[in-house]
Amino acid sequence: MSEAIAQLVRVDRISKHFGEGETRVDALREVSLEVHPREVVALLGPSGSGKTTLLNVIGCILDASSGSMDLDGERVIENGSWQRRDLRKLRLDKIGFIFQSHNLLPFLDATDNIAIVLQLAGADSKAARRRALELLDYLEVGNRGTSMPATLSGGEAQRVAIARALANKPRIILADEPTAALDSKRAGIVMDLLRKLANEQNASIIAVTHDEKIFDRFDRMFYLRDGRLESS
């Protein structure tokens, strides 16, 4: 990866602990990492190693106990304190989420599941639907625009979820076990898609995964154990 491209995600000595005294649990211990544009990286590690905690901190869902973090060149955490008040807006503008189970809203059709993100960002209804349909076409599920999530196959639902994550053209996409619910073939297709997105949208993709069959699809893998980053 070229050094000339600034990192999209920079985590600097981030620690996170829960509880105090005897009940204190150190979920992250001075973790540092950088992810650049067009990189697809994996967070690996056994259960309880801190992968999801790190993903939550990067996703601005969970605060850090100490350390700093920059997203897309903006200082978001400084010495364990948020530097932005409106984290919701930050998430809406900069971060897209892809879930283990697609987490599509069951009462909205595929198009509206994507359009809602755009509308929350201020787009009008028509423009939001137009962009949603474009995304569905881009992810090759354009024919399922009016389908409700319950009628979509696992692969289709995951594509719609990916389309939703891309709706606001975020530069950082966080994926929590994105292929866990898919068979090998579909898992491969989803990873190809994420790679394509990273390249075409100049985005960084960070995925938590246990899925060994897709390990070769990542540019780098960060291995966490007991809250510490062991290797990358």
Binding site: T52, L55, G59, I61, R88, R91, F99, P106, F107, D176
Partner: protein
């Protein structure tokens, strides 16, 4: 994009069933309110029917409804001569049973003098009593129709006119007959009992007794002033129309009124708890979706609006279902159900407030949801 509407549309059948269930409950609440109102109105109907100003009854009684009252039949002439009295009429009240077309009718028999105060209110159909004997004006609730012949005592009466909504506080339909017929029915002994009395040498009791005399006053006469004049006769008591109505509503039906009032209040509390539980459960079922919404950047107001709008939709659809149901079946209730617009609107307002407060529970739960829940921990 209205999320509340989309969510409702997604599970429309379930939502409508919930609304119907709530509607039935609110319908029962409305019915109880209607019965409560009906009870109060029924209690006053008979007292209001003659449209008079003063009731003259036996001394030291609050008759003729709350307590028994018997006064001589000639009292009417004495009352009619008091200054300020425009006209007066004697009246009797009694509950009687009659058999008609194979079924027992429980009726509230009112004896009156047809040309004097004390007669029925404006008629639904037919005419007033025109003969001295054996004619009846019956309320529609009795099931009698014009021309029906009804046996009372040893006589048979013909229905010549009908009133509507003219029942006593117990719900028994009123029938009007001449004072003479009513006195005969009330005071005459059966032939065998009469023979026994004669054999004992007892003097036959006079039947010229009435339960009350009602008086209509001249336009500028003071009811209290005339009542005071009547009370100077120690054997009589006088009650103004206003006081009579107070006796009826506060004394005669007070316990039933309070009973129904308390039951209605309990039903309202139960409804409030059920509405709160439904809305809370609806929210709890959507926690993962709410977490997802938060994660993708939905502001709290979007989530709050979704819950509150659903609560309002539930309340209003339920309320209108219940109101529609009761308005359509209220005439089939054995007792009168009176739903005034203000009662219905008041319940609507209560439902609105309950829904708003109930949705607070759901909103509280939703706002506490951690967006990280959507990521699976």
């Amino acid at each position: 994009m209205n999320l509340a509407y989309r969510d409702i549309r997604h599970s429309l059948g379930r939502f409508l069933l919930t609304c119907v269930g709530l509607g039935l409950l609110l319908g029962v609440v409305l019915a109880m309110i209607g019965i409560y109102r009906g009870l109060v109105v029924d209690a006053l109907t008979i007292a209001r029917a003659p449209a008079i100003d003063l009731w003259i009854v036996e001394a030291s009684t609050r008759g003729p409804f709350a307590e028994a009252s018997r006064i001589p039949g000639d009292t009417r002439e004495a009352i009619a001569r008091i200054a300020g009295v425009e006209s007066a009429g004697s009246i009797t009240y009694q509950t009687a049973e009659a058999e008609h077309q194979g079924r027992k009718l429980r009726l509230y028999v009112i004896g009156h003098e047809p040309t004097r105060p004390g007669g029925p209110p404006p008629l639904l159909d037919g005419r007033g009593i025109g003969q001295s004997h054996f004619e009846l004006v019956a309320d529609r609730a009795s099931g009698l129709v014009l021309g029906d012949r009804v046996p009372f005592g040893r006589s048979t009466f013909t229905v010549v006119g009908r009133t509507i909504n003219n029942v006593n506080s117990g719900g028994d339909p009123a029938v009007y007959m001449t004072l003479a017929d009513a006195q005969k029915l009330q005071f005459d002994l059966s032939p065998s009992a009469s023979r026994v009395q004669r054999a004992r040498g007892a003097t036959p009791a006079g039947r010229d007794t009435v339960n009350a005399v009602v008086a209509r006053l001249k336009p500028h006469a003071s009811p209290e002033g005339v009542a005071e004049t009547v009370r100077r006769w120690k054997h009589l008591s006088a009650i103004t129309q206003e006081a009579q109505e107070a006796i009826l509503s506060q004394s005669l039906v007070d316990r039933a009124r309070r009973q129904i009032g308390l039951f209605t209040s309990l039903l309202l509390v139960v409804s409030a708890v059920i509405i709160a539980l439904i809305i809370y459960t609806m929210t709890m079922e959507k926690l993962k979706q709410i977490a997802t919404l938060k994660l993708i950047g939905a502001p709290d107001r979007t989530i709050v609006a979704m819950i509150v709008q659903q609560a309002m939709a539930l309340g209003f659809i339920g309320f209108f279902t219940g109101a529609l149901l009761i308005l359509n079946i209220k005439d089939y209730f054995p007792r009168r159900v009176i739903l005034e617009p203000d009662n219905v609107l008041a319940l609507g307002a209560v439902v609105f407030i309950v829904c708003l407060l109930s949705s607070g529970l759901g909103v509280r739960a939703a706002l506490r949801v951690d967006p990280a829940t959507a990521l699976g921990g």
